[in-house]
Symmetry: C2
Subunit: 252 residues, 2 copies
DNA sequence: GTCTATATGTGGATAGAC
DNA sequence: GTCTATCCACATATAGAC
């Protein structure tokens, strides 16, 4: 009820540092001592402000996902108002969903690439409380976008759309997380990957923009790929064998 | 030199159990006590046989990646012998790379889906020794496949190919890892996602097959998507604006 | 090769003074 | 709200008997 006046910024400083350390080391490998040490606050401060380490992680995400969820819903609302009753183009839906997220990477006030990387990595953490948390946080948004895709691709089986949404999330998460073999193995540096811009101009913001420009065509290409051919069920698949192999191309 | 006779199968049992527990909980959250307890061997056995927990993880992977690396190289060799000097079709390269992996999921003797899931999750673990390990294990194979893709897609900038290889790896890893929000949120069960087969017939092997059938078209569609349009550099982009937007379609 | 016992460190959390 | 001091569970690793 009563406004906290002595909040100073201890709370926010813990959140900022925790965001970075969880991103760099993962949840399990980041200790509260590492966090409070780097944030230059007392060890007991985390438990005082958040209650537990688990609760701290949740708060790190809640702070950002609140904005992201609202923005994603707003973006979809805007699109659907333009075509009242009609169907959206898949590219519009992907842009609203993935573009909104990727734009967070360009804005340090929204966590920038640090948060994006953290998100990409944490999505695959097996800890149950983490999976449960994300399931709850994402439920509404995923449901809305799933339905939008169903309407946008009425000829594609819904199970297939769910799979492809799944694949798209993976491509994005992994690309964002950036903890991968490729960068090390290929010897291609981030700067090179980001484009041809001179090194001194390069920053996280530019990286996020480049990533978006390269990722969106890939995702759209995957989403609109020909439907798979199943061998086993051996259903009566008499009608024009070319049909299924044709690409899904509903006005992009 | 001398063959160990009293090896019994303690070593293998530790590896099998560790594979499963690392998959379920992640590296950090899996203790040696959990492993030795489940494997019903003595706590000291891990250090005796492998030296340390880190070395155990490496051995869990080495055991499977040895086969995978050889098989991937053999598959590429076979293809390149068929078209001596010529270029392969992107679909052939993807089939050799991703198909070989996904077929491990159908074969319990190669670790089955347990190993695939472990691999998908561990690739994003931030621990440095893990990243270093994978970089070394994958170096040769990635290099060979990268070059094959360069030749197969001579008109696509190499940086773009690296990015897309990156995206493809992500889509696959994430789909395999399966620790995601979608399955929980959408309420779609694994059985449903795998297809329309009755539940009693469903198993890991069938899941791996279905995953492959659904993933391959997606990956190919993404790989062959139109090249991205960059706004910033503002290079002289006079020549037919349609060209860049056209899909990459080198005889599939 | 296997076992017990133990060394040695670190983790998250909290009680209670200020 | 912040701090010190401390509890206690659990981690990896090893020494040394069998």
């Amino acid at each position: 009820m009563s406004e906290q006046k002595t909040n100073s910024d201890t709370r926010e400083r813990i959140l900022d540092i925790a965001e970075r350390l969880f991103m760099e080391n993962g949840y399990e490998a980041t200790s509260m001592r590492m966090i409070t040490g780097a944030a230059e606050v007392n060890l007991a401060a985390v438990n005082y402000h958040f209650g537990s380490k688990e609760a701290l992680l949740r708060e790190v995400f809640r702070r950002r996902l609140g904005w992201l969820n609202e923005e994603r819903l707003r973006a979809l609302d805007r699109l659907e108002q333009q075509v009242v009753g009609g169907a959206l183009k898949p590219s519009q839906i992907l842009e609203a969903f993935f573009g909104t997220l990727l734009r967070m990477g360009e804005n340090p006030a929204l966590g920038g690439m640090t948060f994006l990387r953290l998100l990409g990595r944490t999505l695959t953490e097996p800890a149950e409380f983490i999976q449960t948390f994300f399931a709850g946080e994402y439920a509404e948004v995923i449901e809305r976008y799933k339905r939008a895709l169903y309407r946008a691709l009425p000829d594609v089986p819904q199970a297939e759309i769910v799979w492809r949404l799944h694949f798209m999330l993976g491509a994005m998460s992994y690309a964002i997380a950036g903890t991968d073999v490729l960068r090390v193995v290929t010897g291609v540096e981030v700067g090179d990957l980001a484009g041809e811009m001179p090194a001194e101009e390069f920053d996280d913001s530019a990286f996020a923009r480049r990533l978006a420009q390269r990722l969106m065509p890939f995702l759209l290409g995957g989403l609109r790929a020909p439907l798979p051919q199943f061998d086993e069920p051996a259903v009566k698949q008499k009608e024009s064998p070319e049909k299924a192999a044709r690409e899904i191309r509903p006005e992009i």
